[in-house]
């Protein structure tokens, strides 16, 4: 009768393995973000054009670049889950989505607070900001679709299809917004992007990588909870839950 349990020993192993990585990734992420942010905020030279307002770059650019990477990561996981029916991949995709949405939100807000002193307005229909907004919508669509299905096996498949459709559409949307922007605007351009002194570049790169590691750590933590939530009927999860409840 317990024979069917055998192939599902896998989630338990994934749960344990993820648990081993989390402390290291977390420490690494904190160290990198502390170094990069302190360096950028205190030691990097002031930009001759933008003054100190450019220091927003150390949070904006990491968030913006990681928001897209996280989406692609989620879509790849969803694809693996859909095609090869690997449930661990489905759960990974479900774990990444909320993190990606928050990162995208951060990229949007920091972009707009940077825009206010530079462009004199909180929001411009700049190609980058607009694409980022659409990306946020896509994330929210995936998250709410996943939440709408009671049966999470189905939810993962539905959300997976949507994220793959989204990933095909992102380049098209990006291109269309770029084209549209060049038609309607033109005066507002980000300046000083050409040559960045190493004192600005190095902390920026550290922060970008730090964001990546942080997203990895958070994904793994959510992944572990997702494994537990989806395997609530398995004895090993029950034991864990009852032990936790006894505390």
């Amino acid at each position: 009768m317990w024979k069917w349990l055998h192939p599902y020993a896998e989630p338990q192993r994934a749960y344990r393995l993820a648990g081993k990585f989390i402390p290291w990734l977390s420490i690494l992420a904190i160290l990198m973000l502390l170094t990069g942010t302190t360096w950028g905020m205190v030691f990097s030279p002031t930009d001759y054009q933008q003054g100190d307002s450019y220091r927003i770059i150390f949070v904006h650019v990491p968030a913006a670049s990681m928001s897209m990477s996280a989406y692609i990561g989620m879509a790849i996981a969803a694809f693996i889950g859909l095609v090869w029916q690997i449930k661990l991949a489905d759960w990974m995709a479900a774990s990444i989505a909320p993190i990606g949405a928050v990162i995208t939100f951060i990229a949007l807000v920091t972009g707009s607070t940077w825009g206010k002193p530079m462009w004199g307005t909180w929001w411009v229909w700049d190609a980058r900001l607009t694409s980022e907004l659409v990306l946020l919508f896509l994330y929210l669509g995936v998250i709410s679709l996943y939440a709408s299905f009671e049966d999470k096996v189905l939810a993962a498949r539905a959300a997976g299809i949507l994220s793959i459709v989204g990933v095909i559409n992102i380049p098209i949307i990006k291109y269309s917004v770029d084209w549209w922007n060049s038609l309607h605007q033109g005066s507002i351009k980000m300046t000083g992007k050409t040559a960045m002194p190493p004192d600005m570049l190095v902390p920026l790169v550290i922060n970008i990588l730090g964001f990546g590691v942080m997203i990895g750590a958070l994904s793994l933590i959510r992944f572990r909870s997702e494994i537990l939530a989806r395997n609530g009927m398995r004895p090993w999860v029950r034991e864990l839950a009852l032990a936790e409840g006894a505390k």
Binding site: M41, V42, F43, S44, P45, T46, G51, D52, S53, R55, I56, V59, H60, A63, P98, I99, V102, F105, I106, V109, T110, T113, W114, K116, P117, D199, L218, I221, R222, R224, S225, L228, A229, G232, V237, R238, L240, A241, L242, E244, G245
Partner: protein
């Protein structure tokens, strides 16, 4: 490498852009903190739910076997 700011108030002022810089860092780190908070507490919530469900099912099974 040396600090670009003479004093703490200088640092907070950010060359006149303090409001924007700190606003964006504030929003970014507060939303990250909320995300991290939810992420860290999720495991506990999930386990609590599963434990509640397990207990419910135990009661149900007992009720059933008592009837038989």
């Amino acid at each position: 490498m040396q600090a670009q700011f003479q004093s703490v108030s200088d640092f907070l002022n950010m060359g006149g852009y303090g409001f924007y810089v700190w606003l964006s860092y504030g929003v970014a780190y507060v939303s990250l903190a909320i995300l991290i908070g939810f992420t860290l507490t999720r495991k506990g919530r999930v386990l609590k739910e599963i434990a509640a469900k397990a207990k419910r099912e135990q009661r149900l099974a007992q009720h059933r076997s008592a009837k038989e």
